[in-house]
Structure formats: structure tokens, C-alpha cells
Symmetry: C2
Subunit: 391 residues, 2 copies
């Protein structure tokens, strides 16, 4: 293999060992098919399909109009940190000191910062399987080791106090948990998270809570783990509910004693998050913008209802009710023994693209396909009709 | 110390051990003085003072006008990677395959990616002292250890083949070198770098070349290490020559065999760099934009001449000619035994802010002050006049 000859010494293990995203292969085939004139329905994309909300766009344009785009403090514009804190107060009734909020380049930047600040070489982290595939890489970036937590559909694909306690080892540093979760769209019950926190606290461990899809819940009010205490590391994003993907903006809420050190890491690792994005995001909490985001949530809700019912009717299993994010994690075992092969067949024969479970974990991945409802109801109905014909 | 009680377990050593930037303390005092009505001349800032170039601003506004700001591929917009490659061809006569160019969130993102891809726990890196303070943190982020290379003013504060060969140890992974350099503004001679590369290659090591200030040279044509081979990791930025600081955009040119793995790291660590910034930067290589940047380089050149002559006249030592970036690294030992205390005295008594050497290294830092000419000639003259009165 010629690409294994490294003229400047070996590539680091953390980089060499990363498996490719299988969906990428699928995507390039989708592009080929589209180039041949085939109509592809994209249900593999974890990106909302709405344009930038008008008030946010206007704020960005007004800021650019002044012609100055300078560095901000590493932790972010004070006004944006205060805006995020005010949002926690207004929507969740939770008081968060703005000083605990670090604005980052997407939730990616927040995950990087949290794991850098918490992981010593050889530390172990508990990660639910299935889960967001990048989490494993953030742990390994800093010399950490991943122990997969087997989660069960009957428990909403979420960890429990018992599973965390059972999996904890001497070198376990902490746990990562997500609600709403990717790829399953499931939420963690407040009492379940409280029970997990008790186990983590008893072990002087760290709990990193991914709330990247916060606000995108259907039939249940959005929640934050911050209502359970101030000793968690909470990850958030402007990409999903606020729809600001390509702007690369997110934030980390850290326990107070860690903030100064994390801020120094941010100074060195990133200087600051995009100043343009920060000024745009200042408008994301305005009543006008929030009304737009709520209307979009309602649109997602209708898509979810349509997709969920349609998939179940076609014989896909959806054992854990997806109540958030914009994903349905469907069991395809009634139709096919291997979801990756089935995803290719779906694409070739119906033009529907979905993401195979192998991209999200190692526990029975061949049973699962993730469908994203980041496309409108008409397209979802079309996708369901095409799949019905196939099956 | 109450902030040493960590409710969620200890902070990682890489975060706990970071010394604060001394200039920050100075800056907060400068803000206090300004609030009291004092006129502060900022010569501590590593950020160009020009507004966004009109063609770049127009490109950003046109892009925003379409209302869609979506993720790009992790390695960046293909058109931007091609634009960067074309810039290397046009300005430096060097052919670089666009596939080797990874667009990142500032040079910070490029440094993070390169060190993540090259550093195993316990690997050692040679870093010139003085140097860019964040480099040390990027090495330590990934479990690496830093060995400071003592560089000498008589050798332009740059490493040599002999110093690199002499400092290399069994676990040395590579060398970081910058041209133009921060804080000294010095360049590395082409033949010196070639000699260093020969030593690094003989040891199967990696050479990370920081060209963040590329294009900002005075009296000497800009160069790139890429003309010496394709086995280096070259770091660049849109922040300095192109003046796009707060946009957070830079790039990494990697040797071909490393690109795929680094791209996977980028997918996981960042998803992509700011889409708005990437579309803005597409206009940075247009003839109109380059004409603006060249005019600004000329302005920097005049400031440099003014500041350099003025400082020398005041008895500051500038033993190594600063031929690039926008810094003069001045020896203050004729006037004061400790540059950090002197920086405070300068600020209090003259309102001139400069950065003490202690922020850039451990080798005789008390002798040095870094003056940035990121303010116009009139203000530089005013600063010199005030310092003359003091001394």
C-alpha cells in the first residue's frame, strides 16, 4: 500500500485507526446516480434544510456592513454569553452564570475543549452504543480509551444508573450522554439522568451531556441537564434548532472550577470562534427568530409523524419512540439481514439515501438504518411510496 | 485555593499547566487606564488594523444574500482549495496539488490537525525559543513533550541544521519552524531551511513550517518552504496578509500520504471550517483584492521603517533585522533589567502597550519586548515621542 509509506514518519494512531463513514461511499454513489438523471431523496443528512432565519441573516449583514471582523475574546462575545444565559433562564427556568459559558466553533469545538480538559492518557470514557460517531475520536484525540455502553431499545437507547455503575472501572474518567440523541432521536428521562449523575458523582467522575439537538422535541417540553446541577459539562450548538450549520457555532457550559483552564485552552487552540457567526447568533434569541425556529420545529414534528407511521407500516421496527432531533432509527431486520447492503439496495432501486447503523456503533449495527427527516413531507411520502414498491 | 476543588474529577494536566499570557494582565490595566480617559497606543496586538478588503466583503455579502449557509466538505470548498493552489503557482511558482490542501478554522485549526496527526504520547518536538506561544500547547494537547531550541539573534532567531541535529533525541518526532516568525519578525534563509530539512529527513522526522505571515515581507520576496519539497506540513492563514482574523480561516498543506487520515480527523474534530469565511476567501485571490493587500504591505513597510529606526534611536537593541510579519522584537536591557516590569512602566507612564518576552519563551525573556506595528505611522511616532520623554 503506497499510502502507508510516510516520508515524515508515521501517522499518529489516533488518525490512522479511524474507520471511514460508510455513508460517504453511499453518498458518492448517490451523486453518480444523480448525475445520471436519477432523482435522489436525501434522508441521510444531519443538516436542517431551512434557509438562514431572516433576523439572523439581517444581523450578520448589518455586522458585515461595518467592515470590521476582528478577534473576539476566546470565550466569546460577552453579549452572546449573556444571551445564551438569558435563553436558559427564559426557556428552561435555569440560572446559568454567563461566565460558565464558552462559545466554540460548533458543538465540535465544545466537545474538543471538554475532552481536552478532562482526559489524561489512559483514562477511560463510557460512550453509549449507538451514538454520535465523533465522540470516540474526541476521547482518543487526548489519549483516552472508549468503553462502549450497551444501551437497549427498551430503555430508549439510553444508559441507566445500573448500566453506568456496572461498566465503571478504576480508570473510568466519565460518561458521555446525549438527549435528544443521535442516531436514535430518543430523550433521556430526567429521573434516569439524575440516577446516572448520582453514580458518576459518587465516583468523582465527569458527565458530558450532549444537548446539541435541544429544542427539537415533539410532544415533550425541551429540557436541560443543567436543571440537575452545575457539575456537568453541557454541549450545545447553533446548528440544529437554530439552523446555523455552516456558521460553525456552539457552546460549552462548564462547572465553574474548570472554566478558567478551559478558557486558556480555547485561547491557545482556537483564538476564538467565528466573529461573524457570533454577531449573527446574537439575533437568534430574539422573539422573531424564536418564532421562526418554533414554526420549523412544528414542520419537523409533522415530518416525524409522517415518516414514523410510514416506516412502521412498511414493517420497519421502531422500538424506541424518537421524541427529538430529526432522526428515526429503524430496525430493518424484517426486510434484510444487513442494513449496509440494504442501504445500497435502497439507493440503487429507489433513490432513497439513508445511513447504515455501522456508522454509529458496533452493537448489532446491521439491524439499523437512520432516516433523517431533513426533507419535506412530500419527499418523505415519495420515499415511503418508493420503498413500499420495493418491499 | 477554592478553584482547585474539582467536583467532576481533576482537570487534565495539559489544561492545568498553561501559564497565563502576561500581556492579558497588561491589557486589562490598559482598559482601566483608557476608562480613566488615558490615550493608549496599542502595540501589543497581533491583529492587522485594516478593515475587511472590499472584494472579500462583497463576496461574503453576496453569499449571505442567497440565504443558505450549509456545511462544506471537511477539507474545504473545492474551489477554495483550487484557489489556494493557484495562488502558490502564481505567486511562488510552486505546484501544489489542491488535494493536499486542507482548509481549517484559522491557522489554529491547521496546527491542531498537524500535531494531532503526528504526535504519539511521549513524542518530543523541537520548538524555537522565542516562538508562538500556542505551539507548545498544541504539542502537549496530544501527549507530546516540548524541547526548546535555543536560537540566537545572530542567526536571525532561527534554528540551524547544526542546532537541530544537536538537539535531536531518540523520541524526537519533529521540528516546528516559522518564517516570518512571531515574535521576532525574522525570516529563515532558504539554504538554512534546506539544511534543516536534510537533518529532519535523515531522521525520518516531520517538519511543520508556519507560514502564517507569508506575504508580509519587506525588501525580500515572499517564499514558501513548499519550493523545497513536498514532505513538509505547511501552516497558513487568511488572518494576516489577507487580514481576515475574526473569520477564522487558514489552511494546512500536508504531504500526500497523510492527507486522507488528516481529512478524517478534520471530519470528526470540526466537520468543516466556516462556510461564510470560505466563500469570502474565494475573493481574496482576485487581482483587486491582491492589490489592496499589497498596498497594505507597503503601509506595514513604512511603519516598520519608522518603528525600527525610532526604537534603535532610543537605545533599544534590535540585533536581528525583522524582515517580515508586523513585529519588532526589541532588547530593552539598556533601559531596564526586566521587560515585564518595563512593559508595565511604559503603559503607566506613556500609555504605550507592548508584549513582554516572557509570553514567547523562557530564554532570557526579561530582555525583550515585542512591538507590533498594527497601528499607523502617526501613532507609532507618537509612541516613540512618549517613550523618548520617559527614557
Amino acid at each position: 500500500m503506497p499510502d502507508k509509506i510516510f516520508p515524515a514518519g508515521p501517522i499518529a494512531r489516533r488518525a490512522d485507526g479511524i474507520p471511514p463513514f460508510h455513508v460517504m461511499e453511499l453518498l458518492s454513489r448517490a451523486h453518480e446516480l444523480a448525475a445520471q438523471g436519477r432523482d435522489i431523496i436525501h434522508m441521510e443528512v444531519g443538516e436542517p434544510d431551512f434557509p438562514v432565519a431572516a433576523p439572523v441573516l439581517a444581523a450578520a449583514q448589518a455586522f458585515l456592513g461595518a467592515g470590521r471582523v476582528e478577534y473576539t475574546p476566546a470565550a466569546g462575545l460577552p453579549a452572546l454569553r449573556e444571551g445564551i444565559a438569558a435563553h436558559y433562564a427564559a426557556r428552561f427556568g435555569v440560572t446559568v452564570d454567563p461566565a460558565r459559558i464558552l462559545v466554540t466553533a460548533g458543538a465540535s469545538g465544545a466537545l474538543l475543549l471538554a475532552l481536552a480538559g478532562l482526559t489524561e492518557f489512559g483514562d477511560r470514557w463510557l460512550l453509549p452504543d449507538p451514538g454520535y460517531p465523533c465522540n470516540r475520536q474526541f476521547v482518543q484525540a487526548f489519549g483516552g480509551e472508549v468503553d462502549s455502553l450497551n444501551v437497549r431499545a427498551e430503555e430508549a437507547f439510553q444508559p441507566t444508573a445500573a448500566s453506568v455503575a456496572g461498566a465503571w472501572q478504576a480508570r473510568t474518567r466519565g460518561l458521555m450522554v446525549a438527549s435528544p440523541a443521535n442516531p436514535t432521536g430518543t430523550l433521556i428521562a430526567r429521573e434516569t439522568l439524575a440516577g446516572i449523575l448520582a453514580e458518576v458523582r459518587a465516583r468523582n467522575g465527569a458527565c458530558v451531556v450532549d444537548e446539541i439537538y435541544q429544542g427539537l422535541t415533539y410532544g415533550r417540553a425541551p429540557e436541560t441537564a443543567l436543571s440537575l446541577g452545575d457539575d456537568m459539562f453541557v454541549i450545545n450548538s447553533f446548528s440544529k434548532y437554530f439552523g446555523l450549520t455552516g456558521w460553525r457555532l456552539g457552546w460549552l457550559v462548564a462547572p465553574a472550577p474548570y472554566v478558567r483552564a478551559l478558557e486558556k485552552l480555547a485561547q491557545h487552540y482556537t483564538i476564538c470562534a467565528s466573529t461573524v457567526a457570533q454577531h449573527a447568533a446574537l439575533a437568534a434569541f430574539s422573539p422573531e427568530a424564536l418564532a421562526i425556529f418554533e414554526a420549523r420545529r412544528e414542520a419537523f414534528s409533522q415530518r416525524r409523524t409522517c415518516l414514523l407511521a410510514g416506516l412502521r407500516e412498511l414493517g420497519f421496527g421502531v422500538p424506541a419512540e424518537p421524541e427529538g432531533a430529526f432522526y428515526v432509527y429503524a430496525d430493518v431486520s424484517r426486510h434484510a439481514p444487513d442494513s449496509a447492503a440494504f442501504a445500497h439496495r435502497l439507493l440503487e432501486e429507489t433513490g432513497v439515501a439513508a445511513t447504515p447503523g455501522v456508522d454509529f456503533g458496533a452493537r448489532e449495527p446491521q439491524r439499523w438504518l437512520r432516516f433523517a427527516y431533513t426533507t419535506d413531507v412530500a419527499r418523505i411520502e415519495e420515499a415511503l411510496a418508493r420503498m413500499k414498491k420495493l418491499l
